[in-house]
Symmetry: C2
Subunit: 489 residues, 2 copies
């Protein structure tokens, strides 16, 4: 046993022995980050890591340390140049946000004070509750709705599914499990729904087959007549329809289902209505886009990804559940070591761990709170509107270029197109566009991603970028056309 | 539509118009955080938020901003003084880490560059893979084991459960769901297991009843004979035992099950073996504690919480799965928009989203990577050993004090005890200790938490604190005894 008379001077902690040395390094990190931000457009969007760096990431666990300065040096030289690049003005891949410096500083402050938002009576919980209330307000939800910040929309959607299963099971599904439910539960979404919904159906023990994928119209919105038919057929066959997922911005094409019509259908058929708003839930901040969301305020639950079009640094998922009591009833457990007290730190009426799956929870809300207090949410609406305008700008250019083919109507800020030399077979077109995507990435000029629409491989530009200029899209198309000439030749 | 000829000068983004102003503020944030750290022991551990501040957290969403400086000012005045306090040397509540400044800087760097670790070929993925490999190495797992960083052990345990269900279902449970499994699946853990395991059983559609809670011995370790009997009884009754959870540090008392014996039992009975190591998985870093973990290296999967005793800022959960292919087979989906490419950013053999529930994933691994590179993991072993020694120091003091009663053997670094005036009824003792807990919190002297052992309410000191000195425990006990006198009087 260490001598209890040990003095403070001899007291080793994980804090630096040279606190002022680390302070100096921290200031350098801040300056590097600001310098990187100022020089962002000069940098290639992405570049491949040289293979000779690979062994650096296969070293054994460090038993003794090299110090923070040397560790940071390795980070700057071996990691920073080869990151994803989604902070760049010409990153339009998948659907990710850029982040912001204020958000990153929020992440630092949250980690420096390091509260746990699983429970307890402390101010960080109030901040998360305020962010939840702000989202409820902006979406037309009751201000006392339930909700929770989570990693991302995959988790937020899972919370929506789990509450729906709890409410509609007709048995004590928490205790008895799926096997106790007499009629199989069935959920519905369009074929364009994100793959995380399949994961939710699988995880909850319903099975992927319990998620019916309904066809879409020409604009990739769910076919409501087909949806209604499917519900009736399942009911006639002895199954129990319980949930419809509406898309507020599909991942492939940005399509928004007719949420108001789905809400009507769910009311008539007594189904639960969950909206996957990972991409589009907040477009109401742009006045011209707000009408697209009509009906979202009638949902039972909504999943958001504030790290996408709201540009909060990862992770910043969020779910709202109209009926807070139902959300709590779905998840609450009461072990002795988490019992609440009337006063003290163990007090507080709401312990957020009772509303989802995590027990320990970080202070994600601070990134959001600081960012929105800083700029106000209307600024985000202006960024969204500009991205939508940029999508139409790009689509117009695609339609003007004889070598390019628009593959779907512009949905929000997503443009799907391909390079299409006259007379090429589908097979050759696929191969050509796959090769071009890789060359565009390797060039560092831009990062679009890709998808398959009606069996055809295409490039997919999902803008969601507060730094892109209109010119950035022309720079990309010019480079793409040049590469297409080279590959064709 | 905005004029595409818009110039860069007129280009509004979410970046600050006054980048140098924000840089100055960022440096102030760093200085404040370092000053707070230097003054930590002078601060009350926790204090209640004045009720007149509550309305500040109920304001509507800010449509226009107040600027980062004013937002930060509100954070400093309204939030910082009323946080949880778990960075303090006398915080021993529940089981949370303190965090470290290097970890907080890692959180800043991760958020500033903001990569998405769901997929793609970039350096952040290599860093996470390196951290996973380090953990595998330290736990005696194969270096090519599967794994994933997740929010916390609740999620890490859920991953372990989900893989176990997939492997043992005997049907295509992903497609067909629980209803297709002919014999009900049953899992086993001691009564001391964390409540998140009940949540896993519920979420997966098995139902809470599918988790059998097995009694423990006097040291709160699972009773192996009772475990074996339960397995045989379930099998005889037509149910299908599939999973045993071993505890490497229970939440109530820090007990460690006989992992080697559980591994033997699982091998004989062909059950999957998952270890919940949220608290104790890394104690092997302290040579004297390592033997307690014998057998952990034989598990099929292990859940860790690096934000507990490893002091990474929240969130830093991690799961290891021996058979990476099984983990991938449990979760992988292949939508067109996430298809991998041979080259470019869409390349990379391993997309981490295929190994768990999240699609977008933040760069949690950097906090770990920087921290371990900085100090080396052996330093963490020294902190753990000291916390264990401090637990024995506290327990010895409890046993010396006539007014105090030790309620369980010291388990790792957890001490459960109560104030016990001679001749008081159990009911009065409960009320007394509940009141004392709240007074201790309100005094700001220390934050222990509480639990119920064999029906008796007690104070629970879960040390896990790299800043505590031996003297800190005497300060706490002295204050507690004084308060006990006041309450008795």
């Amino acid at each position: 046993m260490i001598d209890p008379a040990e003095t403070a001077a001899a007291h080793e902690t994980l804090d630096p022995t040279d606190l002022e040395g680390l302070r100096t390094l921290a200031h350098r990190m801040v300056d590097d980050a600001f310098d990187d931000l100022a020089r962002l457009p000069e940098r290639p969007v992405w570049r491949p890591m040289p293979e000779d760096l690979a062994p650096r990431f296969e070293t054994p666990a460090p038993r003794t340390g090299v110090g923070a300065e040397a560790a940071y040096g390795q980070y700057r030289s071996q990691v920073v140049p080869y990151l994803m690049g989604n902070d760049h003005p010409r990153f339009w891949g998948w659907y990710v946000g850029n982040g912001t410096m204020v958000g990153a500083l929020g992440a630092f402050l949250a980690a420096a004070s390091n509260p746990n938002l699983g429970g307890g009576n402390h101010a960080a919980v109030r901040v998360e509750q305020q962010v939840l209330r702000w989202c409820a307000e902006l979406l037309g939800f009751p201000l006392d709705a339930g909700g929770l910040m989570v990693g991302g929309a995959s988790m937020a959607n899972l919370v929506g599914w789990t509450v729906a299963r709890h409410v509609h099971a007709g048995v004590d599904v928490r205790a008895e499990g799926i096997a106790a439910i007499p009629e199989p539960l069935v959920a519905y979404a369009s074929v364009e729904v994100h793959s995380c919904h399949q994961r939710s159906a699988e995880l909850l023990g319903l099975g992927a087959h319990a998620l019916r994928l309904i066809p879409t119209d020409d604009a990739y919105r769910i076919d409501l007549a087909a949806l209604r038919r499917a519900v009736h057929e399942d009911r006639a066959a002895g199954r129990k329809p319980f949930l419809v997922i509406g898309n507020a911005g599909t991942i492939n094409t940005g399509a928004i289902d007719d949420l108001d019509a789905i809400a009507d259908l769910c009311a008539e058929e007594r189904l639960r209505f969950h909206v996957d708003g990972a991409i589009g839930a907040m477009i109401g901040l742009a006045p011209a886009l707000a009408p697209l969301l009509r009906g979202i305020e009638r949902a039972d639950s909504i999943a958001l990804d504030l790290h996408k079009w709201m540009h909060v640094p990862f992770e910043a998922g969020l779910v709202l559940v109209r009926d807070a009591a139902a959300q709590r009833a779905t998840f609450e457990t009461s072990p002795a070591y988490l019992a609440h007290a009337p006063r003290g730190l163990a007090g507080g009426a709401t312990w957020l761990t009772d509303f989802g799956l995590e027990t320990s929870r970080d202070f994600k809300a601070l990134k959001v709170w600081l960012s929105w207090m800083d700029r106000g949410v209307d600024a985000y609406g202006r960024m969204m509107q500009r991205n939508v305008d940029q999508a139409h700008h790009l689509a117009a250019r695609v339609e003007r270029e004889p070598l390019l083919e628009l593959m779907a109507p512009v949905g929000l800020d997503i443009v799907c197109f391909r390079v299409h030399p006259e007379g090429w077979s589908e097979e050759r077109l696929d191969a050509l566009n796959r090769e071009l995507l890789m060359r565009v990435h390797e060039s560092g000029v831009a990062v679009p991603s890709y998808t398959t629409l009606d069996g055809k491989y295409c490039l997919r530009v999902a803008i969601g970028n507060h730094r892109s200029t209109f010119e950035d899209f022309d720079v990309f198309v010019d480079a793409l056309l040049k590469m297409a000439d080279e590959v064709e030749a």
